[in-house]
């Protein structure tokens, strides 16, 4: 009867185990060593960074107020319309991308749409759409709609795949048609989470609308970019503070709403 016991290691082979440990350590040391730091540039930058931070203590809302308001309106409009259109497109794609609902061909097509949408970062899509339709909020609208599809359809499809099979089976057994089956057994199971995800995506989309403005897709990001280019850090600070306030308000509002629908 043995008396010594220790938990079995994750990797059984000791040579492989210690080999991996040393390999990782050596790579880490070499990687850190390869980063070159220009300390004089850092010292310069610290000062510039500090001016930026100081501007936050003294934001200037009035100098460019008209441009800020216009940028905000553009961003909010862009966010709202793109979220609505994105959600409207995500629902059919999400249904198609759920393995337990869709035939194989539809499943693969919808998964491909999701993969393309998710593999491209918003800024890259925005650059592409700006090239296609020109500067301005329309490019931003297209970008955010497209990015919403990847995010929402994937999570919706995964939620559908996690649905309780008993409930799906029970409605199928009543002789319901495919759409009735979706309406009565799939939909009630995924709806609360879908509402939560849509609200969450609205938050994200608003933040994205600020970022993609920097590459020319309109909205508050464009205003922010202009302010930075002019070294008007106090204006930039005002814009960032407004963005923070709106994101926090959206966050608070959506969490209240989510609790309401659960």
């Amino acid at each position: 009867m043995p008396r010594r016991w220790s938990p079995p290691p994750l990797i059984a082979n000791p040579a492989l185990r210690y080999g991996l440990y040393t390999g990782t350590l050596v790579y880490l040391v070499l990687a850190v060593g390869s980063v070159q730091v220009n300390w004089t540039r850092v010292a310069d930058g610290m000062e510039r960074g500090w001016r930026f931070v100081a501007a936050f203590l003294n934001p200037d809302f009035s100098a460019r107020w008209g441009e800020i308001v216009q940028g905000m309106q553009e961003s909010l409009t862009m966010t709202f319309t793109a979220t609505v259109v994105g959600v409207a497109l995500s629902i059919p794609v999400g249904l198609g991308a759920a393995r337990n609902l869709a035939p194989r061909a539809v499943y693969l097509a919808c998964r491909a749409i999701i993969a393309v949408s998710r593999s491209l970062q918003e800024v890259i899509i925005a650059i592409l759409f700006v090239a296609m339709v020109g500067f301005g909020p329309f490019a931003g609208f297209l970008t955010i709609s497209f990015a919403t599809i990847g995010f929402l359809s994937k999570l919706l499809a995964e939620d559908i795949e996690d649905a309780d099979p008993g409930q799906l089976e029970a409605i199928r057994a009543t002789g319901a048609s495919w759409w009735q089956w979706v309406d009565y057994s799939v939909w009630p199971q995924v709806l609360p989470r879908l509402v939560g995800l849509v609200l969450y995506r609205f938050d994200i989309n608003f933040r994205e609308s600020a970022v993609i403005g920097i590459v020319g897709a309109g909205g508050i990001g464009a205003t922010l970019n202009t302010a930075m280019d002019r070294y008007e850090y106090d204006v930039a600070a005002a814009i960032l503070l407004i963005i923070i306030a709106i994101v926090m308000a959206a966050e608070y509002g959506s969490s209240r709403l989510r609790r309401f629908v659960q």
């Binding site: 002789g175 009565y184 199971q189």
Partner: protein, 278 residues
């Protein structure tokens, strides 16, 4: 009413879940399907309404050959087979009323069902059934607010809402306490008798099956190894179904201790020939 011929089902390459089951259930008869886990009881029920597609064999419901139907005709045929589930399988976030009315989905069009505008006759019938199962006051409660026994009553009402000819009942009491189990079984047997429905009930609890069914079918490894009345379910039959054990508690011992058969309208069918073909 229900006629199953040489039904077989094989999942993947392993041993078949059903290896040629033949069974006939006349209208109005309550059959308990017993057998160890993995004997194919659930598969058999699901092959009848083709929630699981059988590998071979035929299923007839009245004059209709279920196994020969295309998708639309199959959906129409499923309306005639009410199914009741072990975990109740109510749609948790819908109200009791919506769950009961979902039994009519095969009869109404998509838009009507989507708008929850069911025909007046259906609504009347749903209230009647809820009243019959003792849940009239719960129509607007969400299904996940009910207790286990109440949920199963809703499940029964949903199945009856279809206006079925047969009830396919999968472990109706496995998630319930002993008292509620008896109440649910009694309700099922009463309702089947009232409406002249055939019922096939999968059940693990042998004494409960003996108490309420008119006929017992024992399944083992996808084959019927017993088919006869509860009173003839002796230790040898139980050994044939479940394997070697001390069956002195469950086994029927003689006429003086024959289990009660509540409201058995007619003498149970006996197929002793099959019982011997172990």
């Amino acid at each position: 009413m229900l006629r199953v011929e040489e039904l077989a089902k094989r999942y993947g390459a392993g041993a078949p879940a059903l290896a040629g089951v033949s069974l006939e259930v006349p209208a109005g008869e309550v059959v308990a399907l017993i057998g160890p886990s993995g004997a194919g009881k659930s598969t058999l029920l699901r092959c009848v309404n083709r929630l699981v597609e059988p590998t071979s064999g035929r299923v007839h419901l009245g004059d209709l050959e279920i196994t020969a139907l295309g998708p639309a005709a199959l959906r129409a045929a499923r309306r005639r087979m009410g199914m009741i589930f072990q975990e109740f399988a109510l749609v948790e976030r819908l109200t009791v009323m919506e769950n009961v009315l979902s039994g009519r989905l095969g009869y109404v069009g998509f838009w009507r069902s989507w708008l929850r505008r069911f025909p007046q006759a259906d609504v009347d019938r749903a209230f009647e059934l809820l009243d019959r199962v003792g849940l009239a006051a719960f129509a607007d409660q969400r299904a996940d607010q009910l207790s286990g026994g109440q949920r199963q009553r809703v499940g029964i009402a949903r199945a009856l809402m279809q206006g079925p000819d047969i009830l396919l009942v999968d472990e109706p009491t496995a998630s319930l306490d002993p008292k509620t189990s008896r109440q649910i079984m009694r309700l099922l047997v009463e309702l089947a008798a009232e409406r002249g429905l055939a019922a096939v009930i999968n059940i693990h609890d042998v004494p409960l099956a003996q108490m309420f069914a008119q006929r017992i079918v024992g399944l083992r490894e996808g084959c019927v190894v017993y088919d006869g009345p509860p009173s003839a379910l002796h230790a040898a039959a139980l050994t044939a179904i479940y394997g070697e054990e001390d069956w002195s508690h469950e086994a029927a011992e003689g006429d003086d201790q024959a289990p009660a058969q509540p409201r058995a309208q007619k003498p149970p069918l006996v197929h002793r020939d099959k019982a011997r073909s172990v």
